[in-house]
Symmetry: C2
Subunit: 659 residues, 2 copies
Amino acid sequence: MATIAEELARKQREISVSEFFERNRQILGFDSTVKALIVAIKEAVDNSLDACEEASVLPEISVTISKVDQNEYRVSVRDNGPGVVRAQMPNVFGRLLYGSRFHAIRQSRGQQGIGISAVVMYSQITTGKATRIRSKIAESDVSNDIELTIDTKKNRPSVVKDDHFIWEEGGKRVDHGTLIEFSLAARYVTGRQSVMEYLRSTAVVNPHATISYTDPEGRTYTFQRATETLPPKAVEVKPHPYGLEIGTLINMLAYTQEKKLSLFLRNEFSRISDRVAKEICEKAMVSADRRPKDVSLQQAKAILDAIGGTKIMAPQTDCLSPIGESLIKRGLKNVLGSLRPEFYAQPVTRPPSVYSGNPYQVEAGVVYGGELASDQPVAIMRYANRVPLLYQQGACAITQAISSIDWRRYGLEQRGGTGIPYGPAVILVHVLSTKLPFTSESKEAIAPIPQIMEEIDLALRACARNLKSHLNKKETKSKAAVKFDIVTEILPKIAEKSSKILQRPVPDISRTITKIMNVVFIEDGVDYDAKKKVAKASVRVRNYTSRKQELKVHALVPPAELDRGSIYPEPEEVSEDGKIMWNLKKLQPLEVVECTFSLKSMERDDYSENEVYISDINPATVIGADPLPGDWGIKTFELEEAEVEEADYDEEESELSEE
Amino acid sequence: MATIAEELARKQREISVSEFFERNRQILGFDSTVKALIVAIKEAVDNSLDACEEASVLPEISVTISKVDQNEYRVSVRDNGPGVVRAQMPNVFGRLLYGSRFHAIRQSRGQQGIGISAVVMYSQITTGKATRIRSKIAESDVSNDIELTIDTKKNRPSVVKDDHFIWEEGGKRVDHGTLIEFSLAARYVTGRQSVMEYLRSTAVVNPHATISYTDPEGRTYTFQRATETLPPKAVEVKPHPYGLEIGTLINMLAYTQEKKLSLFLRNEFSRISDRVAKEICEKAMVSADRRPKDVSLQQAKAILDAIGGTKIMAPQTDCLSPIGESLIKRGLKNVLGSLRPEFYAQPVTRPPSVYSGNPYQVEAGVVYGGELASDQPVAIMRYANRVPLLYQQGACAITQAISSIDWRRYGLEQRGGTGIPYGPAVILVHVLSTKLPFTSESKEAIAPIPQIMEEIDLALRACARNLKSHLNKKETKSKAAVKFDIVTEILPKIAEKSSKILQRPVPDISRTITKIMNVVFIEDGVDYDAKKKVAKASVRVRNYTSRKQELKVHALVPPAELDRGSIYPEPEEVSEDGKIMWNLKKLQPLEVVECTFSLKSMERDDYSENEVYISDINPATVIGADPLPGDWGIKTFELEEAEVEEADYDEEESELSEE
């Protein structure tokens, strides 16, 4: 026995983080040669996009892959970002867990200081070659060119070549930018999980970037930027006190420069004013003047409790930069290309929320029908801080949130009401945060944090309800259309035929028709004028009852694009946020009124389905539009949700009792 | 522009590994308070089991959970392992990426030097409290008691209390062992993913350990060890040259103490003899006497190619310690408890194999039918180096291998022939290796390395074929039984009735029966004698043909438990590895021979289904047993596999053509 504990002790030693990842490269995403190529390019492009955004530069990125031999490729990624100063080049590219974004609370693609150094390491492990980096900052005349490897036993860069050049391209001096070039063991494939698809998906959620790609065959593809506007710059914020943990608080108290507890609270956290800081100190019964270093464990706990019991403003959200509902729709249309789906559900950008003190936000979109495959599981498009997630779908909070919704109630097929639904649909979810909780350093899946799952759930249900309402509308309309056809086409023919036989004049059967129909029938449609880029919407209201009718018709439209002069007939009200209301008075039996309006600067399919509601009439009398919800806001949807759920439970029960 | 690159540079700095994991604790598995409790206990128990095995001690581990308040629990885990020397206690428990197992190539639960320190860190972050560790090594009179925290900014332990005691328990001195005690933010739950289930699953694959568990209500449960035999000790080996990569080779060449290339090859790798080392040097055209440090990149590549082109013995496999087929079956029976499944497929322990130079091995078992839920996805039990995997099922190679098999051909339901199948089945897979490629530091899922996926696939298909053959046998027997019932029960009655009516003697219709049946009918069964712990097996062979028959009957039985004296009638052959062969000569029409044998020291259900084959007779004549395969070994199965696949493809084609 004597020897064992000591024998073990002799073997115990430190493991460097690069040594650890050298042996566990699958954690970084390098678990196959196919994936290695995509992951390496993704890390370089993430870095380029982040750098450009930090410098407020419209990104221009070119990616080139060339074949070295059967198992080896050479990759170069070049950007027009601000560049890296010479002194930091070795550390930024040649040392794991080194970077500028880890300690900042801000939405960025890279956060860990691992990605690009991991690429350098993978390159060297699999090819034995050094990585070349060229970088030029604006204030320097020359670019620095270095070649480096990583000493994995020490996790330190080792520069094997150091030079500088005048960087010219196409005879023009390059002002600033970075180029990284490396060789790696890789396998090049095309298809669903390929470099091309990764870049395409990246372009979709980064419409301000121009990305060009030259494949190993030398063909160049360019995804041109769709907008010249940079996304609002994600600003850096201080941590929000909600979600703070005792250990973190104790650490912060020990390391702060502040001399008084109240100042510490005000200056090291966001959303804590003097007043709130005082309130916290009072509730915790700790002096506001106490030195942070002298705060005891008990007092720290009391402060934490006091924070929990104090009303503090929600975190600022200008640190988050969502894609936005209209760009999501446009993105989806881009990707689905020629498949011509039947319906794009209105995308949803949820309001920002907080988990463990970190602001986060969820966006979602659903596309349905048309030529989408109907006998397959739905396609899931996952994004995290504008980066497409291509692997580990099963481990991701997004997939798990999708799987836990009963999609049968929203018109998709799903065994037992859980799991990935089947049907002709694409589901897109984008999660953005100042700190995304990935399940591993490869950042391929978001950990199923309950709060995040909940927001994804809410976003998806909102899209799903929109889908369901579309499907309901379609069904109601198709039923009504059948009735309408019979009544309005066949009845007159019968009348005509009968009259002929009886040799009597054709009677006016319109009153009979209205009696049989006894509805106000609403049809709506959108025409697109490609030349003028105008979408013309119309809502036709026909009184098929035998009495005069009065009702209000409401349309919800994108306010920025609405051409106010185009609205016909004169609306009773047009609100700032895009609600048009017509008050149709004394609609005679069989009378038709057509309400129209136009939307300017629209791309085809930007606006393809109207949102029309009615009010001030018994909704049972109307076919083709739902009654106006009590409010246009979120509350209404929640109300609706409750109704939908009740209705669905009833359905399920009756199904059961039938069996 | 001037400021941006420099502004960024000012922010660039090192991130300590503990700081990284403090912010990304979900990577270590601490992503919910429910999970945190299980993960923390798992890390401590893994450590205890590893330590005991290293010291060849039969593990006795006790786990106690007590409630501190609504959100906080205190956990203690105590073992009888070799203990940790005082000097190493702070580093082992208070520093991430520090340990004894990372640099060793050996199968162990812990490999990373992260787990237990992560527990200490999580405890301190969520409660602000220090972790207490008591450890005693055999050669010391006293135990050392320390309390420590981690300085996460530096990743260094900070000992806040240091003491020593005489460690007594129940009035007896403790000889050696370790106790760790910590508080943590946690939520205690029962059910499928709970501490109890984790410990139960752990006990299943560690039958040499006694694990006792006291829950927060103070109830103590003990999983007694099922065997006094330690699993064969997993020895440490050198890396195998296959799968070596250029970067790793260059590193090894730079750091080796050897002065000559041939010695370097012989001494730093396993399975390279002097002869093989010379052969490699010759093929690479590099002098065997070259100093390793002087080997160039080109030469290193040539050496790597030469290794690939040289026949080198497969890695030694005594570094792997599989559970074994009979213990897997017993384990499954333990877990499934009272559910009484219909069938336990013969578990499979595949021969060891190699990926990237790392030996690994796969074991699998399948249980089917009985009271297992039939309208649910099959239950999947995943194990890695004898540790149950409870989370991230979707991301795991095991799940992906299961999902990519078309289980419909083996009798389970599965939409489209991919995905997790539905049906009354449990699938167990155990992957063991000197280096398991986990998808993250939380070690919850195995990365889908193609070679590992392939071995899992082979193991599963072998089990699945066994299941299918059982289902076929069941179906054939049930069909035969119907015929048998009609012929043997109704015909005599008709004869009797007819005779009565005609008032004539009942004729002997046995010849008629044999004519109609025209088969040799084999039935087998097992009776269990609980008192004597003996399983009595019988194989009844009945000649239902009108001619004499001759055939050989073969039974495959566990050789160790076979009571050779119990075999009746006298067998023609009993082989060492448990094959009994009876030669039944001149079986008269309607004659019945019952072959029996007994197995000793059996638990109930250890042996519940016979493996019976026939030979030296036209198999078409026999119902109830399959013809003897050409060989008992693996080759046969591969042959079978090919046949199965062909047959299935035909089926699929015909299905398609029907549509």
